[in-house]
């Protein structure tokens, strides 16, 4: 008896899908193929959109279009006075998705939470070794060192015990890597000897059920009729994988998709003129920067790094790269809209004469040779990598630095930049939990310098101590004061050329309602609906 309703709904969904251009379908032109669907193995936003934001759910979630924390699979939680113990009260009656590859026999409970975390942090867990790439997010955020243990209090209560207080901990639990998997499914896969299926046939408790993935072509989802927060209005969600931004725009105009993610700034004027299309924009937590490898002499000399900052014509870069209003110039590692920023901090001006003088002072009046590393295709922080590299090259030439551009495929670039092979590298960072620490520790701490994530290889004791202190403080005003001191050191030491805080854009057809850009760089379609077909297009 219990089964009948969902089945009927499912049938209705199938029938509706057969009618062409049913307004309950949503086609989204996305920017790339997901790397896989076992999201804890990946860090790319495109993978998160296709799994964490659709198939999965977390204990907490971010408010749509914001970074405020809301309850999700955890209905409420308590934090102990010393900030070391977090007790979560889990939502009851949450059903996992029914799919051809997994029919759940029980509802969501504490075992699923424990499985999802222990798998990533406990080397003795049977699933720990089964991730060929490890758990990059959990590892880079040192979650394993942070969590001392996870206790099951009863079926609907879990307690996390930390080794030290961690201000951003709750926000971290809303991030993709904290997705909750059905432990029952994992057990069955392991028993069947096919653990790799977890990556290709995902199942979770999220708003959309994974249907099919065709590499480089599409990902198809249908709505989860049992979703605890109400089934989405969209019955079919289709990601049309379209890596070229101009093609995404062309397809949107042709009506082949209703949402085009990340249009390039150059295409915006044309899109704004089109009455059928609405351009959404937001100021996301994005920073584009050039990492200066401080391990490579003469870049270990702060004067040379300052000279590079002075040499680069940031306003020309912003105009050519992002167009009018496409971005604001960056001074610090995170945008001024985030708390903990310092409005009094002024960026380095464009002053080639002073740059030359500094270079001469550092003993490089006769010039230098450097390498500029960048990637081939564009992304939100760097829409057109070729342009940026060539502008930098020309500006450096003006102060007597001969720079050679090396274009490396993204994965290769990240890996070799981690090894510290570059001199200058174009990078970007998308904040994913709305905490300043999320920009500083992963990119500029000494630990990150050791692991290579800090492409500048920059390790400043004073700066690092400030970050540590701020992480252990819960009071936001106190933390702000600490971060302002840290930013001053960052500015003076110049391990980066901070470039820009790009605005983020999405172009949608007029009949799409309820889509909001998240400042955290993810895209969620659970709240999207399409206006009735007779509405003006």
């Amino acid at each position: 008896m219990m089964l009948r309703r969902p089945t009927a709904l499912l049938l209705a969904g199938l029938l509706a899908g057969a009618v062409q251009a049913a307004p309950s379908s949503l086609v989204v032109c996305t920017e790339g193929s997901p790397e896989g669907f076992d999201i804890v193995q990946y860090t790319a936003a495109v993978s998160a959109d296709a799994s964490a934001e659709t198939v999965f759910d977390r204990l907490l979630r971010f408010a749509p279009g914001g970074s405020e924390l809301l309850p999700a699979l955890a209905e409420r939680w308590e934090v102990s006075a010393d900030g070391l113990e977090y007790t979560f009260h889990l939502r009851r009656g949450v059903k996992f998705q029914r799919t051809p590859w997994f029919m759940p026999s029980r509802e969501f409970n504490a075992d699923d939470v424990i499985w999802s975390f222990r798998r990533q942090i406990d080397p003795a867990h049977p699933w720990h070794k089964l991730s060929p790439r490890g758990f990059p997010y959990a590892e880079s955020m040192a979650v394993g060192e942070l969590i001392e243990r996870i206790e099951r209090l009863d079926e609907h209560r879990v307690r996390f015990v930390l080794r030290h207080p961690e201000a951003p901990f709750l926000a971290n639990l809303a991030m993709g890597f904290a997705s909750i998997y059905p432990a029952e499914y994992a057990d069955r896969l392991l028993a069947a000897g096919t653990p790799e299926r977890l990556n290709s046939q995902p199942a979770g408790s999220g708003p959309f059920i994974f249907e099919r993935y065709e590499k480089d072509a599409q990902v198809r989802f249908r709505r989860n009729p049992d979703y605890w927060d109400g089934a989405p209005a969209i019955e079919r969600l289709i990601f049309a994988i379209t890596p070229e931004p101009n093609v995404r725009v062309q397809k949107l105009k042709a009506g082949d998709c209703q949402i085009a993610l990340y249009p390039r700034p150059v295409d915006l004027p044309g899109l704004r003129r089109d009455v059928r299309i609405q351009v959404l924009e937001d100021e996301p937590l994005l920073t584009a920067y050039i990492g200066i490898n401080t391990r490579h002499p003469p870049l270990d000399d702060v004067r040379v790094r300052q000279a590079l900052n002075l040499a680069f014509d940031k306003s020309a870069y912003l105009r050519a790269q992002y167009g009018e209003g496409g971005a604001s110039p960056a001074v610090a590692p995170y945008p001024p809209s985030l708390w903990g920023s310092d409005p009094t901090l002024a960026g380095w001006p464009h002053d080639p004469a002073r740059a030359r003088a500094l270079l001469a002072e550092a003993g490089h009046a006769q010039g230098l040779k450097l390498s500029i590393w960048t990637r081939p295709g564009g992304g939100p922080t760097n829409p057109n990598p070729g342009i940026g590299a060539q502008l930098l090259q020309a500006d450096l030439a003006a102060i007597g630095i001969r720079a050679e551009i090396r274009v490396l495929e993204w994965g290769e670039l990240i890996k070799r930049a981690k090894n510290g092979e570059h001199d200058l590298v174009f990078m970007g960072w998308a904040g994913d939990n709305g905490d300043p620490d999320n920009f500083l520790t992963p990119n500029l701490s000494c630990a990150a310098a050791a692991s290579g994530e800090n492409q500048a290889g920059w390790c400043d004791e004073r700066f690092d101590a400030l970050l540590r202190e701020a992480r252990r403080t819960t009071d936001q005003a106190q933390r702000t004061a600490l971060y302002r001191q840290a930013l001053a050191i960052f500015h003076e030491q110049a391990p980066w050329i901070p470039l820009a805080h790009p605005r983020e854009f999405a172009a949608v057809r007029r009949d799409v309602e309820g889509f909001v850009i998240s400042p955290l760089g993810t895209n969620n379609f659970a709240g999207v609906r399409r206006a009735p077909a007779n509405a003006p297009e």
Binding site: R264, R319, A320, I387, Q390, A394, I405
Partner: protein
């Protein structure tokens, strides 16, 4: 002897003169040759002909349309690209790059190709078949894919582009030379030379090779145009000559983003590639017809 009296004598059936006459009769080929000469001149004199440094960025003139369009600037007759660089200057300097890549890779594959082909033809026991198997292996890989693989090994760049294309086009020369050698080796003049005691090297280079030149010249011309196309394709895939070098293919790759806004950055580099490759192929056709009417059947 007086030269003027020589000129007035009835012409000897000189192969060169025959060839020139035959070639000049082919109007298309002749016009193409003139165009190529012009292009080569542009390439040679690029620094003096081009109005600007091809890498100079005029940052207040991003994507300026060609001079004859609204919003155009007379300083930039063909407009500017996304970094405000003068398109005309880049095209002129690009001719230099493309032609030299073409020439260099033809030279680099012609010489070893001919040598290997001669060996393959003259040593039919062991060396010949092994060389030919090697060539079969290389031919089993699609040229562009092989070139991409070679660049993946060597890294992108001008020199490696040349090398990759040279390697890819090697089998054509080897096969052609071998076939030509096999065609010539049983001719009477070769047997005669052999009987007269000519050594193997002398046979290879003095007796046989000159008689295989006609198809090789034609193939080299075709190889020249193919090299320009391949270099552009590699550049387009981002694996060839690196920015800011104004290579036509990589210019096109950068222009892809402006397909709706700036047709000139998309159209002009492609036209440059097409017209130069077409001209070379026309000359190649003309050469083939003039050198050896029998070859007309080769596509």
């Amino acid at each position: 002897m007086n030269t003027s009296s020589l000129a007035s004598e009835p012409a000897w059936p000189s192969p060169l003169r025959d060839f020139c006459r035959a070639f000049a009769r082919n109007r298309g080929a002749f016009a193409a040759l003139l165009f190529l000469a012009l292009l080569a001149l542009c390439a040679l004199l690029a620094p003096w002909l081009a109005p600007f440094d091809p890498a100079a960025q005029h940052r207040d003139f991003l994507l300026t349309p060609p001079a004859w369009l609204e919003g155009g600037e007379t300083r930039f007759p063909l407009g500017t690209d996304e970094l405000g660089r003068d398109l005309l200057s880049r095209l002129i300097h690009g001719a230099r790059l493309s032609l030299s890549i073409g020439l260099a890779s033809v030279a680099l594959s012609l010489l070893p190709g001919v040598l290997l082909g001669l060996c393959a033809g003259f040593f039919p026991r062991l060396l010949g078949p092994s060389i030919m198997r090697l060539m079969d292996i290389m031919l089993a890989l699609p040229a562009l894919l092989l070139a991409v693989a070679v660049v993946a090994v060597l890294g992108p760049g001008l020199l490696n582009t040349v090398l990759a294309i040279a390697i890819v086009s090697l089998p054509a020369y080897v096969r052609l030379t071998r076939a030509a050698v096999l065609g010539e080796i049983h001719r009477d003049y070769v047997t005669a030379a052999k009987l007269a005691g000519a050594g193997r090297l002398r046979l290879m280079f003095v007796a046989v090779l000159p008689n295989c030149l006609a198809p090789l010249i034609v193939q080299a011309t075709l190889g020249f145009s193919a090299a320009i196309l391949d270099a552009a394709a590699l550049g387009f895939l981002g694996l060839g000559v690196q920015p800011p070098s104004p290579e036509w293919g990589s210019m096109l790759a950068a222009a892809r983003d402006y397909i709706e806004r700036a047709w000139w950055v998309v159209t002009l580099p492609g036209l440059a590639i097409l017209s130069s490759v077409l001209a070379i192929n026309l000359v190649g056709d003309g050469l083939r017809d003039a050198l050896d009417p029998k070859l007309k059947n080769l596509a």
